[in-house]
Structures are given as C-alpha cells and as structure tokens.
C-alpha cells in the first residue's frame, strides 16, 4: 500500500517553520505573488493531511499512475559493476517519469483551492506532459511555458502536451531554456493572481514549494524502503544515486534516508561539456549562494549577481540553480555532489539500453554514468533512481552529443 508521508520530515534536513533549509530557502517573491504563495503556505499541510486528500491521492497513484513502481534488480548491470544494483523504475509511471507524483498531488490541491487554470514551466517536457495529463484528468485549463530551444530538442513531448489539450507557450528570452520558462510562468501568475495555480515542477521556487514537492515525491523512497526490506531483508541501501536538475527525483529518492547516515546519498549534476568549459550546469561546483525564482540557493552567477546561462545536453538538467534543500544537503555534507559530462551521460544511457533493455532519459543517464566511478563493494546495495524513460531523447541519442549553438 502506498501512503503519503506528512509527518516524517527530517529534523535536520526538513524545512523550518519559516521555510528555510539551513541558510537556504525562504520566499523571495515580489508582493504581487505574495497572496497566492502565502495562502498556499498556510493551507498546504492541512490539505494534504486530510483523509479525503490522502485517499484520492493514493488511489490515483495506484490506479492511474501505476504505483508502486518496481524496484528492479539489474543483474547484468550488477555483474558488470561487481555490486548489487537496483533500479527504481520511475520510468514506468504513467507519462514516463517521476514528475507525475508531484503534478497529481498539486492538481488535487489546486482543485481544493478552487483554481480553474493551471500553469507550469517545463524543460525536458516531462513535467509539462505530466501537468497537461492531470489537467486533462481533472478538466482544468492548462498553459505550459517552455524555452524555445527546448521546444526544438524535445519535440515529441510538445506534441504530447498539445494532444492532451494544453497550450504550449515558447519562452524566447535569455538562453530559451528552463530558467526562462520559469520566468515566464511567474509573470503569468503575477498577471493572473485570482484563478490560477502554478504547478512548479521541481523542489525549487518560494516556500512552500520545495517542501510540498518533496513530500509528494517522497513516495519514491518510501517504496524503496519497503521493497528493499522484502528483497534484501533490510530497508536501507548503502547508496542512493539520482540526477539533479532542480532536484525533485533526487529528493524523492533520498527523503526517507536523510536521517540515516549509513546511506550515502549521491546527487549527479550535469557538467555539460565539462565543469570548467563555460558550457555547464554543475551548480554546486560553479555556484554561490544567491536568489533566483523565489528562493535563496546555490546559483551559477557572475560576480555582479547576474544569473549565468547553463548548458547541458539534457533539457531537464539545464538549470542554473538547485532546490534549496539540495544546497543544504551539499553545504552540510549530507549528500555528495558530482558532475557528469554530456558524453559520459550519453554513453551510460546507451549502455543501459544494451545491458538491461531499458532506454533511460538523458537526465537519468547522468546518474547511471556515476556507476563507473562509484566502486561499490560486491555485497553493497546501490539504488539508482531511474527517473524517466528515454523516448523523448531518441533524436539526441541518434545524433550524438552535437554542438548546440548557444
């Protein structure tokens, strides 16, 4: 049985009363957004704790999304890396990624708030598709902002969103990727403060978003615990690996292990062409504390405080910040962060396809690539969060890591 955690927020790594994780987080928003964000903050815990909410959420996760997702022992991959590797199959969720855990939670919340119109930003298009899907399910209007560059490189997802009845709006400013799509979604919310709910797609944005999204995604680690107990006789693995764009699939996979220091939490960021090439999205390596999209977090920026345009072959990791909880996990040393290049990710993605018959999303491929370096012992247990499937990335896999004009 799947349940929704509402009481298990970690003492040390959970959000504070005022919306902070250590020194990161908060709600750095213009007054125009305050009424909506403050209202959300004041009601979100009560709403998601209601029995009727829990029942509806859990039933839809089971019957509509297809949870629990399998925890699959990858035998050939394990043999190759000489350790015990499990893949948490979020790619088998309806719509093909972990993103729907969050959009389903938020749409149920939006309905209870009486909202009629939903907006979202998307990078790879997975969050856009997951949002368009739950809007269709609930009969709500849906507008998705997507960078013009991403519309080009994630075409299949654009078509899926349209088929699901969403309007896809191109963000044409800046690097025309996820950051700019987020700016446009925020401007839309400023302009439509009464009837609209903004479904943010990761653990970013002003408080309460990072905490709310974390809770909806925490179902991932909750299932991992139960499934490992069944398969291995213990609930905790030795390692959990996950890729980090904003960090929602990683938080989901880490959540219930945050206070268990025996579990090594490993977050993989996109190095792009290489951390020091000027074409990278490796936020913890290149970033400094700053404010973007409503929260204080680690941010890639110039000394003058202008946000640097990131680069990654993977649209879902092409973001100059990380969620404030990750900034805190990094600063406190609770999680390790490593950067994986475009080429390493491509190879790891292709390798999984041939070894296990699973084509992973390019985002996920960053987590898989780290298996090369992990050097886990033969009797250790490694869980890789397989955040999404790779159908959307076929063209990129086929073309190889080509130059992309910036």
């Amino acid at each position: 049985m799947t349940t929704l955690s509402i009481t298990t927020a970690s003492q040390r790594f959970g959000v504070s009363e005022r919306g902070y994780y250590g020194t990161f987080g908060g709600a750095f928003i213009p007054e125009m957004l305050y009424p909506n964000v403050e209202h959300l903050r004041s009601v979100y815990l009560d709403i998601i704790s209601e029995a009727s909410f829990q029942e509806e959420f859990v039933a839809l996760l089971r019957d509509y999304v297809g949870r629990p997702t399998p925890l699959y022992f990858a035998k050939r991959l394990s043999d190759f890396y000489k350790t015990r590797i499990y893949l948490k199959r979020e790619d088998l969720n309806h719509t093909g990624a972990h993103k729907i855990n969050n959009t389903l939670g938020q749409i149920l919340l939006a309905k209870r708030l009486g909202k009629k119109r939903i907006i979202a930003e998307t990078g790879a298009g997975q969050h856009g598709v997951a949002t368009a899907t739950v809007c269709a399910l609930m009969g709500l209007e849906c507008v998705v902002y997507m960078g013009a560059v991403d519309i080009e490189r994630q075409k299949p997802n654009v078509e899926r969103m349209k088929l699901l009845g969403a309007q896809v709006v191109a963000a044409k400013s800046g690097s025309q990727t996820l950051k700019d799509a987020t700016n446009e979604a925020m401007r839309d919310w400023i302009t439509n403060p009464e009837n609209t709910h903004y479904i943010i797609g990761s653990v970013v944005g002003p408080h309460p978003y990072p905490d709310m999204v974390s809770r909806f995604q925490s179902v991932i680690s909750e299932e991992i615990m139960r499934q490992l107990e069944e398969k291995e006789g213990r609930p905790n693995p030795d390692y959990v690996l996950a890729c980090v764009g904003g960090g929602s699939n990683a938080v989901g996979a880490f959540y219930h292990f945050l206070d268990d220091e025996r579990v090594r939490l490993i977050a993989l960021e996109a190095a792009g062409k290489g951390v020091n090439t000027g074409f990278s999205a490796a936020t913890t390596a290149l970033g400094k504390s700053g404010v973007l999209h409503g929260s204080k977090t680690l941010l890639m920026q110039t000394p003058d405080g202008q946000v640097v345009e990131p680069f990654s072959i993977s649209a879902g990791l092409d973001y100059p910040g990380i969620g404030p909880i990750h900034a805190h996990l990094f600063a406190s040393g609770r999680a390790e962060f490593h950067a994986v290049t475009d080429d390493e990710a491509m190879q790891a993605g292709k390798f999984l396809a041939r070894t296990e018959g699973i084509i992973p999303a390019l985002e996920t491929a960053h987590a898989l690539a780290y298996l090369e370096k992990l050097a886990a012992k033969p009797d250790e247990i490694v869980v890789v969060n397989l955040s999404g499937r790779g159908d959307k990335d076929l063209q990129t896999y086929i073309n190889g890591a080509q130059e992309r004009p910036h």
């Binding site: 213009p30 007054e31 403060p193 504390s289 700053g290 404010v291 920026q301 003058d304 405080g305 946000v307």
Partner: protein
C-alpha cells in the same frame, strides 16, 4: 517596532509639493552604457520630480517585455552595480547642473546581495541615493537583517502593495516602508495599460481613504501602466503622484543618441 526616522530629499519633496509628483524610471546602461548622466540631467532640466534608476537583472520576473529587453541590453552593454555607482559618483557634486531631486535605486535583490548589503548601502549614501526599491526582498528579511543598515545610511526602503494586498497587510507594509509606498496599479508585470475600470477605481479609492484617514502614514505613488498624460492624471487623482517606466524606456530605445535630451524633453512635456 520603531519607524524609520530617516529624513532626506524624498520627505522634503512630499512635504513641499502640492501638485502631483511625476517620477520617471529608466534602466541604467540603456540605450547606451554611459547614458546615465545625460538622462538624469535631461529629466531634471524638464522638471521631473523624482527619478528611479533601474539596476538591470538577468531574470526580471516582475517586468514586462520592454524592461526585460532594456535590462538585457544594459547587461550586454556592460552595466554592473559597481559601474553604476561610479557613474553616479559626481552627479550631486559636479559644478555644472548637479542633480538635486530625490534619486531612488530599483532592482532585484540578488545583485545587491552579491555586491554586499552594507557596501551597497554605504555607496548609496556616498553618491546621494535617497531610497531603494527591491520588490523581491521579503519585508521580514528586510526588518531582521537589512533595516539597521538602511537607517545608518539614511536610506528609505520603499515597498510595494498591489490590488490583492489586504488592508491589514497594507498597514503593516506601510509601517516597514519609509519615504513613500509604491502602489502597483493592477495585476501584472510592468508595461501593461492602465484600465480605469470599476475594480481599479475602487482600489485607488481604498488607498486614498486609507491615507486620508491616516491609517497609512507614507505618501502613495502609483506605478505600472502609467504611460501618458491621461493615465498620469487619472492615477494622480487618488495618490501623491505616479511613476512612468516602460513608456519612457520605449521612447529612449527608439531615439538616436544625439536626440536623447530632446526625446526626453518631448516625452515629459506630453505628460505634464
């Protein structure tokens, strides 16, 4: 909580003026990197009452297209916080045509944090800035961390209110603000149009009543969507004045370099 006791050119302006205050916003570093001084001089020569100097930011979420574009052009031109202070260093003290009207800096919080909050406040005081508007700085963070610095350097901190801000919060924001209150005219980013519909009139009337009954202390200035004489006059009926931003920047963007002072003269003459 103690009120900010800072007294500077902003207080003088509002206590002495009986006609509506015209405030103009422009993005520093636009259209050209070194236009700041020219624009300030031309605005003063044409009897504008107060100037907001926009500090460009890469991700201006509260701004519409015109200010987004002026900001990204300004950054491409090379504008930085450091350079802006260098450009402002002598505008108050120069022998010829020194700037005497209130100057306000407006921008987003991240560049200020990276510059260093204390260093920023000290430089504001040094060049003669009277107030600062940082829409994404939460009031609580200002009160707890920034306020003592603002007081030490005699800077006003000006906060925004919107049509959705409930009365209780307006009063709280008024207590934290000093100098004036910035009332955003309607739901939206900068650069929209001011529709004087029933909702707008009711909102403006509400603000006017709050001020007249002394439920709020600061003078109120209306901004966002003020673009010409009609909208300036309409807003001024309910407030101490209004701010023009995008409409001004649009004209600056269309002017040739030599024509900047003349463009500014014509623009201000149309509004007054």
């Amino acid at each position: 909580m103690t009120a900010n006791t800072t007294q500077n050119r902003i207080n003088t302006l509002f206590s002495e003026r009986t006609t509506p205050v015209l405030s103009v916003y422009f993005t520093a570093g636009f259209p050209n990197l070194h236009d700041t001084s020219t624009i300030l001089s031309a605005l003063q020569a044409n009897d504008v009452d107060m100037i907001e100097i926009g500090m460009p930011f890469s991700d201006p979420v509260a701004d519409g297209e015109i200010i987004q574009e002026s900001s990204s052009q300004a950054l491409k031109n090379g504008m930085t916080t450091e350079l802006l202070f260098a450009q402002l260093r002598d505008v108050r003290t120069r022998a010829e045509n020194p700037i005497t009207m209130p100057l306000v800096l407006m921008g987003y919080v991240n560049p200020v944090i990276q510059y260093g909050v204390e260093r920023f406040c000290a430089d504001c005081a040094e060049v003669g800035i009277d107030g600062v508007i940082l829409p994404d700085l939460p009031p609580e963070v200002f009160e707890e961390e920034w306020k003592p610095l603002f007081e030490r350097y005699k800077l006003h901190h000006i906060l925004l209110i919107t049509p959705q801000t409930p009365e209780e919060r307006i009063r709280r924001i008024d207590e934290i603000s000093s100098g004036f209150l910035y009332a955003v005219s309607s739901s939206g980013t900068t650069g929209g149009a001011l529709a004087m519909d029933d909702a707008r009139t009711a909102y403006f009337q509400r603000l006017k009543r709050l001020k007249e009954s002394s439920k709020i202390q600061n003078p109120v200035i209306i901004g966002f969507g003020i673009r010409d004489k009609a909208s300036f006059d309409a807003a001024s009926e309910y407030a101490a004045g209004a701010i023009i931003g995008s409409a001004f920047i649009k004209e600056l963007g269309e002017a040739s370099n030599e024509a900047l002072p003349e463009t500014i003269r014509r623009f201000v003459a149309k509004v007054r």
